[in-house]
Structure formats: structure tokens, C-alpha cells
């Protein structure tokens, strides 16, 4: 029994189940939520089993159809993949539960949205999981396109003019990004005759072709991750989508191209990467943090504030590139991957509670949202709870992640990134405070109707999980380094 527990490819089920459920949801629109909920409840279990398997038996590779590399598709279950699977599991479960209550079946419009939400969301989930597990460049392309396509459709779901425009911009930007990436893949294949990540890691060397390929792929992925200054498509798309979709877009979808970038830079192209380019990415990251936070401070609508907050947080992820050098590599890697988990949960919770607030108050204009006590005040407090993780205050997981990044910055002597992290934290506190203070103002408006429990509890639970992950950070951090392209000691000391 234990043998089967340790040898069965549990992680594969996280791809198969959502895809199968997506087909079922599409074929039976009246019962569309049912396959969704079953998936939402079972996939996290499989993720947990896969985590257990990894910690006991180590990473493993699954070859599809018996075709080995360089021809076949390999799926690799290693530490970073599982961290991302964990993120998708937690976010997916919460968003699915929330979506059950969000698309009420009274409105004709809402029913149509519900009919299409479930197959698209399940397709997105399966594609994301497949991407996290992929082991070669081309499969990464295909799964990335699946993810993008389903998120575009989801972004356009409510059919409003703003949503359609946002989705179109997203589509065109994505297309540009993925074709750039694909061109890089073509060049790599031409030079090295394989697209398998592990194999490429051994044979790629620093020549002009490889540099060109890396540049093309990086630029393409930067557009898809919405790194400043290529972030223009993100705020409109995330802000005009329905709340569960925004939660998915910010909490999950932006992480997919990010993982590809991390794998590319640290696994395939470490020989090609130069200090100058890593600093360029770091500087763009700093720009994202500062610009995104400043824009968030100026927003009048809650959803746009949260969307610009995502732009800022994405900048933190890109600090991995300059910080992961020398001895601090493992610290920076563990910190940023843990930040991915923390941010995914916190941001998803934030968007979900924003959706509840918009539902209850009927709008999301900050100037009219005051409400101490009652429904609105309590929701705003949940927003603040999710924000604790994003700002990086103890004892949340965001704090532990920031601690690791600060440690890496100090050890490598890169004090300016330290200053940017500190500034980013203060700016984030600023825009969170704008929303939080609304929770305490007495509102003269009549009491608002209560939102149903299913719209209240999932975001609260996810925010609490994100918070408590800070206290349970030991295993996820260790997990992120299993079979990672980086090795070393976490938390360095230079004690003499």
C-alpha cells in the first residue's frame, strides 16, 4: 500500500481531473458547477499526496506515452512545481467555492456567465497544473497558450464593453509575447536539437544564438507576466472581470509565465545570463514596485487599486534575478517562491473580498464605501487581513518571504534592493491603509443586506491560511528547494 502511495504519479491527476471536469461542465451546462466543486475538493488532496510523496521519495519524472526525450513530453514533479501546485490548489479551492455563490441563478445574464465560467475555469486549472509540471520548452508553450486562452475568455465573461476591451488588449499582448517566446524555442531547437529542460541545462553554452533566443523568450514572457513597463494590459483586464476571475488572474495566471522565466534562467541558460541583464530585470522589478504602488495610491476604485497592487507585487518576484547570486542563491530562490505562494493566496483573497464588497455595496468607489460595523465594515477588515500578507507584516507568509529576500540582499551586499523592498512595504501600507480606514468610519447610509455565507467565508479562510502559512513556513521553504536548479544553504550567516 505504501509502495503504491509512493510510486503512483499523483501529480498527474491534478491535470487530468480538471480537464475531464471541464468537458463534463461544457456538455452539461445545467449542472456545470457540480464537476467544478468535485474537482475543487479532490485536486488539493492530490496535491497534498504529491507533496508527501516528494518529501518521502524525492522528485520524479513521468514520460507521457512512453516517448522519451527529445521526442516525447516529460512531466517533472520537483519542489518548485509543487509549490506552484500548492498555490493553484489553495486558490482554486477557494475561488471555486466562492464562484458557487457568486453566479446566482436568478439573473438570466448571470446564468449564462455561470454556464461558461465553469468549463473555462476548469480548463484553466488543468492547463496551469500541466504548465507547472512541464519539463520541456514546447510543452510549456502549449500549456501557456491554453492558460492564456482560457483566461482571455474568462476576462471577457461579463460581456461589458470595458471587459471586452480589456480582454482584447490582453489577447493581443499575449499573442505578441507567446510568439516571441516561440521564436526563441525555434532558435534553441535549431542550435541544440532538443527542447527538454534538463538536457538543455547541460549543453547550452553562451553564444550569440543562445543569447538571442534568451532575449526573445524573456521579452515575450515579460509581456505575459506584465512586468513594468509592459504592464499596460493588466489593470483594465483584472479590474473589469468578475471577482472570481480577477482572483484567478492575479493569484494564479500571472505565476505561470513567471515559473517559465525562472526555469529558463536558472535551469537552461545559467551560462548565458550576465550580471548586467539580471540587474536590468531587477531594476525593472524596482520600477514595478514603485510605479505600481504609487498608482495604487491614486486609484478611486477598489478593483483598480488591487490590480495596480498586483503590478507592484510582480516587481518583487523579479528581484530574484539580481538577488540569486553566489551563496545567497538558495535564500533568494526560497524567498521568492514562498512569496509566490503567499502572494497567490493573499491576492486571491483580496479580490474575492473586493467582489463581496462590490456585491453588497453595489459599487466599488472608495469615496462612498465607508462603513463601520455591519456587513461592509467586516468585509473591509477581511480585506485588511489579506493585505497583511501582501504588505509583508508578521506573522504572515509574506513576512517570511520578505525576510529571506532581505537576507539575500544583505549577504550579497546589494543594499539598494533592500531600500526598494523597504520603500515598497511602506507604500503598500499606504494604499492598504486607505481602504482599511474606511472600515472604521460610521456610515450614514442605511444598513446593507448581508451577503450570503459562501461569499463571506472563503476569502476569510484564504486570508487566514495566508497569514498562518507564515508560522508553518518551514516545510514549504524546504520543499521549494527540492530538485531546484539552485542549491545551497538558506539563511546564511557570515559569522567569523
Amino acid at each position: 500500500m505504501t509502495g503504491a502511495l509512493l510510486t503512483h504519479p499523483w501529480s498527474l491527476w491534478t491535470i487530468v481531473i480538471p480537464l475531464a471536469a471541464a468537458c463534463l461542465s461544457f456538455l452539461f451546462p445545467r449542472r456545470a458547477p457540480l464537476p467544478g466543486i468535485i474537482t475543487a475538493l479532490t485536486v488539493p488532496l492530490f496535491v497534498a499526496t504529491a507533496v508527501y510523496q516528494l518529501l518521502q521519495a524525492g522528485p520524479h519524472t513521468q514520460v507521457l506515452g512512453g516517448w522519451h526525450a527529445p521526442l516525447g513530453i516529460t512531466l517533472r514533479t520537483d519542489g518548485p512545481a509543487l509549490i506552484l501546485l500548492l498555490t493553484s490548489g489553495l486558490v482554486g479551492l477557494t475561488v471555486s467555492l466562492y464562484a458557487l455563490g457568486y453566479f446566482t441563478t436568478t439573473d438570466q445574464q448571470e446564468r449564462r456567465q455561470q454556464r461558461f465560467f465553469w468549463p473555462l475555469w476548469l480548463l484553466l486549472w488543468g492547463a496551469c497544473n500541466a504548465l507547472f509540471l512541464s519539463g520541456d520548452l514546447f510543452n510549456l508553450y502549449v500549456t501557456l497558450e491554453l492558460v492564456t486562452l482560457s483566461s482571455i475568455a474568462l476576462a471577457a465573461l461579463n460581456g461589458s464593453s470595458a471587459a471586452l476591451d480589456g480582454a482584447m488588449r490582453y489577447l493581443l499582448a499575449s499573442l505578441l509575447g507567446s510568439l516571441s517566446y516561440l521564436l526563441g524555442v525555434a532558435l534553441i531547437y535549431g542550435a541544440y536539437s532538443t527542447v527538454d529542460l534538463a538536457l538543455l541545462g547541460h549543453i547550452v553554452h553562451a553564444d550569440d544564438l543562445s543569447r538571442a533566443a534568451l532575449a526573445l523568450m524573456t521579452v515575450g514572457l515579460l509581456v505575459k507576466t506584465a512586468l513594468f513597463p509592459l504592464h499596460f494590459w493588466l489593470p483594465p483586464a483584472h479590474a473589469s472581470a468578475p471577482a472570481p476571475v480577477s482572483a484567478l488572474l492575479s493569484g494564479l495566471v500571472v505565476k505561470a509565465p513567471l515559473l517559465i522565466l525562472f526555469r529558463l534562467w536558472f535551469e537552461v541558460f545559467p551560462a548565458t545570463a550576465t550580471a548586467g541583464i539580471t540587474h536590468l530585470l531587477g531594476i525593472l522589478g524596482c520600477g514595478a514596485i514603485i510605479w505600481g504602488s504609487l498608482m495604487a495610491l491614486r486609484q478611486q476604485r477598489l478593483k483598480l487599486l488591487v490590480a495596480y497592487s498586483t503590478v507592484a507585487q510582480i516587481g518583487y518576484f523579479f528581484l530574484l534575478f539580481p538577488l540569486a547570486r553566489g551563496e545567497a542563491a538558495a535564500t533568494a530562490w526560497a524567498g521568492v517562491l514562498f512569496l509566490v505562494l503567499a502572494h497567490g493566496c493573499g491576492k486571491a483573497a483580496m479580490f474575492l473580498v473586493t467582489g463581496t464588497i462590490t456585491r453588497v455595496a453595489g459599487h466599488d468607489r472608495l469615496s462612498d464605501l465607508a462603513g463601520a460595523g455591519g456587513m461592509l465594515g467586516a468585509r473591509l477588515l477581511v480585506f485588511a487581513l489579506a493585505a497583511v500578507t501582501l504588505v509583508g507584516l508578521p506573522p504572515s507568509s509574506g513576512f517570511i518571504a520578505k525576510w529571506l529576500m532581505i537576507n539575500a540582499a544583505i549577504v550579497t551586499g546589494q543594499w539598494w534592493y533592500l531600500a526598494v523592498i523597504a520603500l515598497g512595504t511602506l507604500l503598500a501600507s499606504g494604499y492598504v491603509l486607505r481602504v482599511l480606514s474606511l472600515a472604521f468610519i460610521e456610515s450614514q447610509a442605511p444598513a446593507l443586506p448581508a451577503a450570503p455565507r459562501i461569499l463571506r467565508w472563503p476569502p476569510l479562510a484564504l486570508a487566514i491560511v495566508a497569514l498562518l502559512l507564515g508560522l508553518a513556513s518551514f516545510h514549504p521553504v524546504v520543499l521549494s528547494l527540492v530538485d531546484a536548479p539552485i542549491s545551497g544553504i538558506i539563511l546564511l550567516e557570515m559569522v567569523r
Binding site: Y141, V142, V185, A186, L187, Y189, F232
Partner: protein, 102 residues
């Protein structure tokens, strides 16, 4: 110059031409066409790579191109559907000016 190199260079040129057109033109249909041209450019590079070895062409890039074509068709159809919807909903065939202001 070898044949693969010519095709490859042409493919890259198409890619950048399409990228320029994607930014330069405002009309949605032109943008979608531009994206398609970019895609075709990339596929040409793949095909060129298939012929880099002497003898029979390498089948793997062909398989990749086929997959890529399927993906591009899917994207194009979604893009066209979105463009039609936008035209119906707002009466224009281009995206509104980007505002960063709230």
C-alpha cells in the same frame, strides 16, 4: 547561403514586420492579421530548422509547427469573435485610447 538560412532569415523578418504592424495599426482586424503574420514567420523559422541537417528533414519541428498552427487558429478565432463583439457593443473597430488615469 544555404536554403535553411534564407528561410530562417525571412521568417525572422516576417516576425518583426508583424510585430511592427501589431503596434502601428489601430484597426483590430489589421492587428489580428499582423499577429498571424508574426506566427507565420515563426513557423517558417521552425521549418528552416527542420532542414538544417543534411538528408531527410527533421520531423520534430514539423510536429511543433502543426501544434503551433492549431494554437494560432484558436487564438485567431477568439480574437475575431472578440472583435465582432467589441464592434457590436461599442460601434468601433479599434481599442480606445489607453488611459492610466482612474
Amino acid at each position: 547561403m544555404s536554403l535553411p538560412l534564407i528561410y530562417g532569415a525571412a521568417g525572422v523578418a516576417l516576425f518583426f514586420l508583424g510585430a511592427y504592424a501589431l503596434f502601428a495599426y489601430a484597426h483590430l482586424l489589421r492587428k489580428i492579421l499582423a499577429a498571424n503574420i508574426m506566427g507565420s514567420g515563426v513557423f517558417m523559422v521552425f521549418i528552416a530548422m527542420a532542414g538544417r541537417t543534411p538528408g531527410a528533414p527533421d520531423p520534430v519541428p514539423h510536429a511543433m509547427v502543426l501544434t503551433g498552427i492549431v494554437v494560432t487558429v484558436a487564438f485567431t478565432s477568439v480574437a475575431l469573435a472578440l472583435a465582432v463583439r467589441i464592434a457590436r457593443a461599442s460601434g468601433r473597430a479599434h481599442l480606445p485610447e489607453r488611459e492610466e488615469e482612474p
